[in-house]
């Protein structure tokens, strides 16, 4: 089942019916708009753009500016990206540091009282996914979003399994198969929003009910996509605390 994805313009129009100051340059989203009597900051990646060192630093800079302002405004991380940019130059200059820096900036903003909400509306994969959408307190998605760690043809190449066998397995085994339903089952995607209804109230409700602790492993168990992670983590933590 493939659904047409919602565009960034549609998302922004739904979030900010009275207008906004969110712009896109080189595939990077930045800006803000009025929201619930205050404002909502928006950063992200549009147009299936790969995330490289410059993009990661630009986005992190916006997040740190927000923290410095002290306004505690919520930050929406809207994502329709490729994977991390794969190049010799990016790795030479420390892509791992730049992507981790962006994730740390978002985690710092969360600690400083900025509700952080991811909104996955297109593709995302691998390091770009970890550094953006997965570094928020809560990640929502719109139908038609298409997250993956790696596409099935590449998985076939690496695992040396035939593609048709993988496609068959993907129907019954959610833990490795790409796609929104499977990422939701793993607990990575908290909720799927309704694109036909105004997004502002849906984002507001997500912010009002932010989980206190990282509950992605609990969701993964409840939804069956990650059956044992919660129990394993709790057992390890229990054994170490009991010392």
């Amino acid at each position: 089942m493939t659904r047409a994805k919602t565009t960034l313009a549609e998302i922004l129009a739904s979030l900010f019916p009275g207008g906004h100051a969110v712009t896109v340059a080189n595939g990077l989203i930045a800006g803000d708009g009025p929201f619930e009597g205050g404002r909502l900051r928006v950063i992200g990646i549009d147009g299936d753009t790969p995330l490289g060192i410059e993009g990661a630093l630009a986005l992190a800079g916006h997040v740190l500016d927000a923290v410095r302002s002290g306004d505690r405004a919520p930050i929406l991380v809207a994502v329709d990206s490729d994977s991390q940019r794969m190049s010799r130059r990016d790795e030479l200059l420390g892509l791992n540091e730049c992507l981790a820096h962006l994730a740390k900036a978002l985690l710092l903003a969360d600690r400083h009282g900025h509700p952080t909400v991811g909104l996955l509306y297109g593709h995302s994969a691998a390091g770009a996914f970890i550094a953006t959408a997965l570094a928020t307190r809560v990640l929502a998605a719109l139908p038609g979003a298409n997250p993956s760690v790696m596409d099935l043809p590449s998985v076939a190449r690496v695992t040396k399994l035939p593609l048709d066998k993988l496609q068959e397995m993907a129907k019954s085994t959610q833990v490795f198969a790409p796609g929104l339903d499977n990422m939701r089952a793993a607990g990575a995607v908290h909720a799927v929003l309704d694109p036909a209804a105004p997004l502002g109230p849906q984002i507001r409700d997500l912010i009002a009910t932010l989980p206190e602790r990282d509950g992605r492993d609990r969701l993964g168990r409840e939804r069956g996509g990650r059956p044992v992670a919660e129990e394993i983590a709790a057992t390890v933590a229990g054994q170490l605390r009991g010392r």
Partner: protein, 304 residues
């Protein structure tokens, strides 16, 4: 193992358990969810792949030079040290326990190719959970120190976890990057990255390059004793996790891009950093390399 053999043990050659044995004070290690409990991957049998009783990671508590520490050691020889569901959850459980128990440090002996593709969604999500938990531990005042020098290197999401640590120690063999050489070559072609050019791999991702540009805080000879000494030094000198640190990191990384963004090869960067003979760097022994690093401003900082 005791005495000189223990000290000279090669980090690169050792297993995860041998590294922990020789790193920690003798007899001090207590494993959590050890192999006797046989908590293996529930997913690998679907792919007709063998399982490991510890799912390729050893986690627990021990003592390092009299200080209580938590440790996690990935086994690079099982599935390339990759993050599967159980593997990742063991690391996450350890880090979450550290927030409450406040050991003197958490040591992460990273040795990983990244996400285990057979359990990709679980591995990817666990990496995100681990990064959040590292930040929480650091914010609670617990230094999280990465030690990297294993066969599998530190790739994919492992590279992002490394970038989240308070401090990193790396040896010559410890490669750190997001996309590995084969991944870049497969996606972009051998003109972009020839993964069989070993010298290119070491120059671009290897421990010396990471240390020279400030991507790692200590460079170690390939012995457990060297990593032990570095770990003790780094634990005592870990940066706080706060706005000042991240603003300083933003400035540091931006300055790196501004200064070296047009460089094609690591040797161009090293020359611009002020290394007298960049072509001699790969062959330098550890003392000569440390002498070189000592003259470079960029290599040593608290901006992480």
């Amino acid at each position: 193992m005791a005495g000189p053999d223990r000290d000279r043990l090669s980090w690169y050659e050792a297993s995860a358990r041998q590294r922990l044995d020789a790193l920690l004070d003798p007899g001090s290690f207590t494993e959590a969810l050890g192999p006797a409990e046989r908590r293996m991957s529930p997913h690998l049998p679907l792919f007709d792949l063998p399982r490991a009783f510890d799912d390729g990671i050893v986690v627990g508590a021990g003592v390092l030079d009299g200080k209580a520490v938590f440790v996690a050691a990935q086994e690079g020889r099982f599935m390339g040290g990759a993050f599967g569901e159980v593997h990742g959850a063991k690391l996450v459980g350890l880090l979450r326990a550290a927030v409450a128990a406040k050991p003197a440090a958490v040591l992460l002996l990273l040795d990983t190719g990244g996400v285990r593709l057979q359990e990709a969604n679980a591995g990817e999500t666990a990496i995100a959970e681990a990064m959040r938990a590292i930040v929480e531990a650091r914010a609670a005042g617990v230094p999280v120190v990465g030690l990297i020098g294993g066969r599998a290197g530190c790739f994919g999401g492992g590279g992002l976890i490394a970038g989240t640590c308070s401090r990193l120690a790396v040896s010559e063999g410890g490669r750190i990057s997001v996309s590995g050489p084969e991944v870049i070559e497969t996606n972009k072609g051998a003109e972009e990255f020839d993964s069989r050019d070993r010298a290119l791999v070491w120059r671009t991702m290897g421990g010396k390059h990471r240390r020279l540009i400030g991507g790692a805080d200590a460079f170690c000879a390939d012995t457990v004793a060297a990593f032990r000494e570095a770990a003790l030094r780094l634990i005592a000198d870990a940066p706080a996790f706060d706005l000042d640190t991240l603003v300083a990191e933003q400035d540091r990384l931006q300055a790196r891009l501004d200064r070296f963004g047009d460089c094609r090869d690591a040797t161009d960067i090293w020359a611009r950093l002020g290394v007298n003979d960049p072509d001699a760097v790969p062959a330098m022994d550890t003392p000569a390399f440390e002498e070189t690093v000592a003259h470079l401003r960029e290599a040593t900082h608290d901006a992480r």
